[in-house]
């Protein structure tokens, strides 16, 4: 069995990245938090990058939320975000501070939080 018939692009949205398939940064998770730096966008920024930057105008978004908002695959947003990070227009942070990744207290906070929402 060989590749897909006709060589149709998997998702046209990939064109949004100008043909770049892999982000220039190692790993942006679905829940990595993207925040605009406030630096004015330079002239000539590709439209898709500009759209992502605009979406971050009013606050931070996770990668997956930005993807839903812009109707792009997560993989495309990873590429766009990495390009904006290279231009110092966007900052990304990990979903959880690395030190807390296996903190048992985190689970307890989740449980307490769910209980609080349920009982209010």
């Amino acid at each position: 069995m060989t590749g897909r018939r006709g060589g149709r692009p998997l998702v046209p949205a990939y064109l949004s990245t100008g043909g770049v398939a892999r982000p220039s940064r190692p790993h942006l998770e679905r829940l990595s938090v993207l925040t605009g730096t406030g630096t004015p966008a330079p002239a000539g920024l590709p439209a898709a990058q500009l759209a992502l930057l605009d979406a971050l105008d009013d606050g931070s978004l996770t990668v997956v939320e930005a993807a839903a908002l812009l109707r792009l695959p997560v993989s495309a947003v990873r590429v766009l975000a990495a390009e904006l990070m290279d231009r110092d227009l966007v900052l990304a942070r990990a979903p959880i501070p690395p030190a807390e990744r296996f903190d048992p207290d985190l689970l307890k906070r989740v449980a307490d939080g769910l209980r609080a929402l349920k009982h209010t």
Partner: protein, 214 residues
């Protein structure tokens, strides 16, 4: 009718902004972002459960499937065999204390393996939804969860016309669950019931980390 229609909207839903232009930006208090997979076959109620508890109307991303996936497609719920994407729903719950919990509705078929691995990366665990009318539809999901090594709990979504002759033990045996895997019954349409199912999972996660008991 087994379920009273909930006349009082849950707190979670009440906090949602009405109208089309919902603001989905993260609350400024958001600090720790965690995720739980809500896994199960098509039509088991994943999106319903997420909708019940999410503070935002559930969003979705269109995820490309791998070629290997696309080729074996005869899946119910995705009519067009040339379809090369699958929609993945997700919702969000901001908890007191800066924790934001994301719920990802994850289709659990082997052909979604690459997508599954990407979504499962860093997840706390999985809530596996089971439909009592077609238990075997959940076998794939359970296999995938166990392969991934994600801790999980099982929630039987109580569809009104589901057979009631199952005892808990029969169902556990049919699903081949380990003795310490929690199994609860829930109504995915009901926020409190869905919160309870999530709590059963999170309590299980806590217990695993504290083998000496609480």
């Amino acid at each position: 009718m087994a379920f009273a229609p909930s006349s009082t909207p849950s707190d979670t839903r009440a906090r949602r902004t009405a109208g089309a232009s919902e603001d989905i930006h993260l609350p400024a208090t958001a600090r720790d972002l965690v995720k739980i997979l809500v896994a199960g076959p098509f039509g088991v109620g994943k999106t319903t459960l997420i909708d019940s508890v999410s503070e935002i109307r559930p969003l979705h991303t269109e995820e490309p499937l791998s070629e290997a996936s696309a080729r074996v497609d005869d899946l119910a719920g995705v009519r067009d065999k040339r379809t090369t994407t699958v929609a993945v729903d997700f919702g969000r719950i901001s908890l007191p204390g800066g924790v934001v919990l994301y719920l990802f509705g994850t289709p659990g078929q082997e052909r979604f393996r690459a997508l599954w691995d990407d979504i499962a990366y860093g997840a706390l665990g999985a809530l596996v939804l089971v439909d009592g009318r077609r238990i075997d539809a959940s076998f794939d999901v359970l296999g995938l969860v166990e392969e991934t090594g994600l801790p999980y709990a099982v929630a039987l979504n109580a569809f009104p016309d589901a057979p009631r002759h199952h005892t808990g033990e029969q169902l556990r045996a049919a699903l081949d669950l380990a003795a310490d895997t929690p199994m609860v019954t829930c109504d995915a349409r009901d926020a409190d019931s869905s919160f309870d199912a999530l709590l059963a999972l999170v309590q299980h996660l806590i217990d695993r980390h504290a083998p000496e008991g609480r």
